[in-house]
């Protein structure tokens, strides 16, 4: 343990932030969709995976990473909107379990379709040339791409915050999450709002998948692992709370990277231990409203 310098810990902390950034993006989409539509999107991992594969496809066609950054969220979001419009919408008002079951079945279909198109084995995903190498961040050299992931996540969060807080459409979304009935009475076609929210949530999931691709490669099963971890994030942060998702996502990322430094064999299990503690001390999560889940 004497070999562990403070700098190493600080570097690991930054690595945790980069990992956490992916969790944050994944979990805010999940939270946004749940807060608005009360749908737990079990296909969120599949949308994340589709985002990574869409990026791969664009690169294969000769596009570059910067085109992906724009095209992938658009394509995945559009696909998400189709899913909401033609599948999930049929199930509103039929109990909270049915949309969940539907998205669960859908995730099987999506994963298998990707296997059909791209094969069962994974692909490496090159880090874009401009973002290769490392930079000195004061405590040591840190991979440039990971810094970019942190920056891109911050940009998405800022954009989402401005959209939700400063635009009139964002106001409708926030009102709809509180009380859809009243919003409908006020003459707003809430089903269109739900369509767009599902699109935004899945677009962010696709974006997260694209950002994660250079870090861990691309395989059809990449979504189911992060789904379980994102559930930990939502339970810790409180379901339906975007602030909770951000804080808990970063916390989970840091816990994973710190435990892989100090106790590598416990790295996978540590976040579940964190969840167990939160469940015992504060079952509704950091920012969860107590009555929301009943």
């Amino acid at each position: 343990m004497a070999g562990l310098s403070l700098d190493l810990i600080a570097l690991q902390l930054f690595a945790g932030l980069a990992l956490g950034a992916i969790y944050v993006l994944f979990a805010i989409g999940l939270s946004l969709i749940f807060g608005m539509l009360t749908v737990v999107n079990f296909a969120h991992g599949a949308f994340y995976m589709v985002g990574a594969y869409a990026g791969l496809y664009i690169l294969m066609l000769g596009g570059n990473f910067w085109i992906c950054l724009l095209a992938v969220p658009l394509a995945v979001g559009l696909f998400g909107m189709l899913v909401e419009r033609f599948l999930i919408r049929r199930l509103y008002g039929r109990g909270i379990d049915y949309p969940l079951l539907l998205t669960f079945g859908l995730s099987y279909v999506m994963v298998e379709l990707v296997r059909l198109a791209f094969g069962k084995t994974g692909y490496p995903f090159d880090t874009p040339d401009l973002l290769q190498g490392a930079v000195n961040i004061g405590v040591g050299y840190f991979p440039l791409y990971r810094l970019f992931v942190i920056g891109a996540t911050a940009a998405v969060l800022l954009g989402l915050w401005l959209f939700l807080e400063k635009t009139s459409f964002g106001l409708i979304i926030r009102a709809g999450a509180r009380d859809p009935q009243i919003v409908r009475v006020l003459g707003v076609d809430i089903s269109n709002v739900w369509l767009i929210v599902f699109g935004i949530g899945t677009a962010i999931a696709g974006f997260a998948g694209l950002l994660a691709a250079p870090l861990q490669g691309v395989i059809p099963e990449m979504g189911s692992t992060i789904l379980a971890e994102a559930f930990v994030v939502t339970v810790v942060g409180g379901m339906g709370s975007i602030g909770g998702a951000v804080l808990a996502g970063l916390l989970v990322g840091i816990v994973v990277s710190m435990s892989s430094l100090f106790a590598p064999e416990m790295a996978k299990v540590s976040i579940f231990a964190l969840m167990a503690i939160v469940l015992i001390v504060r079952p509704q999560g950091f920012f969860g409203r107590a009555g929301l889940m009943s």
Binding site: R90, G105, Y108, V109, L116, V269, F272, M293
Partner: protein, 328 residues
């Protein structure tokens, strides 16, 4: 006119009665079906699989169908039963009956552990917490290589014969194996039927229908949920133990998220909250899987699509759709 309405009444009565008869004699009927089942199956190994997954779904259905809590972590209960049963034989050389008992107890204990944490949350949280916790169990068993064999699975669970009251049954013979496992499944039918018919069974369904009202009537809702979840763990642990004996290896995939997902599909396909649903669901699901995988390796695509169609159009499942016709 009078005659006509009477004959109408009579046909209605006849329609109601087959459903009533089926419900009243559900254990006898299920037993009969299980006994003749291998005779109509293409090969016995598939029949054994259906039996084991049916039992697994039976345990799951107790929580989802009767209690109304959607669990996505039942692989942890099934897998723990399988692993502990296997470990009892491989590492401690215990006889098969002791190993099965240990599998059941392991299922109960794991359900108690997960239940205590997950029951604290309500509604939709439950699916997420159970899924996350079962993922945690997966990693724990994956890393305990000395005990579980890790990635390679636990090998060497060799039970060649079942010695019972001086009789020696050849467990390697497929038919004998089927009926040995069927004996346990039939016992599980009987126990489940007793639980459901008991006053406690009525409380379980009361909690599902209206938890607030059940609480107002003086029932401890949290405790009822926990006990039901633990009982479910016993059934799933038994199914897991039988699976370990049947395969003579416990693959790590038994704890995987997909194993939790399959049982959700089976229960919904067969008809959740019904006595016969899980068995029917297991039979249809596994036959489908076998059939589709004959001509494509992408059977999950077909199965997933069928599941989506079921959720959209037949949420009551096969048995549920049949009985709603029968009741009408």
């Amino acid at each position: 006119m009078n005659e006509m309405s009477q004959s109408l009444l009579r046909t209605q009565a006849a329609r109601v009665s087959w459903f009533d008869v089926a419900t009243r004699h559900r254990v006898a009927l299920a037993t009969l079906a299980v006994l003749v089942f291998p005779l109509v199956m293409p090969f016995t190994a598939l029949a054994v699989n259906i039996l084991i997954y049916g039992l697994y779904a039976l345990g799951f259905n107790l929580v989802y169908g009767y209690l109304g809590l959607l669990s996505f972590g039942h692989a942890a209960l099934f897998g723990t039963g399988a692993y502990l049963c296997g470990m009892a034989i491989v590492h401690f050389g215990l006889p098969w009956y002791a190993a099965i008992a240990i599998g059941v107890v392991a299922g109960l204990a794991m359900a108690a552990l997960i239940g205590v944490l997950a029951i604290r949350t309500r509604g939709i949280y439950f699916a997420m917490v159970t899924m996350a916790l079962s993922q945690c169990v997966y990693y724990l068993f994956y890393q305990a290589v000395d005990w579980t064999g890790g990635e390679n699975g636990l090998r060497g669970i060799n039970v060649r014969s079942i010695d019972l009251f001086g009789m020696r049954l050849d467990f390697l013979d497929p038919m004998t194996r089927y009926y040995v496992i069927a004996a346990f499944v039939i016992a599980a039918f009987f126990i489940l039927s007793r639980i459901l018919a008991s006053p406690f069974g009525a409380v379980i369904e009361a909690v599902r229908e209206n938890a607030t009202r059940a609480r107002a009537s003086g029932y401890d809702v949290t405790l009822t949920r926990l006990i039901t979840f633990v009982l479910s763990g016993g059934f799933c642990g038994l199914a897991g133990a039988l699976q370990a004996l049947h395969l003579s290896i416990v693959p790590i995939e038994i704890l995987h998220y997909d194993t939790s997902g399959i049982v959700v599909m089976i229960a919904l396909l067969g008809g959740m909250g019904t006595f016969f649903g899980p068995m029917i669901g297991a039979a249809v699901f596994l036959l489908l899987e076998n059939l589709v995988s004959l001509w494509t390796v992408h059977w999950q695509l077909i199965v997933g699509a069928i599941f989506v169609i079921c959720v959209l159009f037949f949420p009551a499942g096969i048995w549920g759709t049949l009985t709603s016709r029968g009741k009408r």
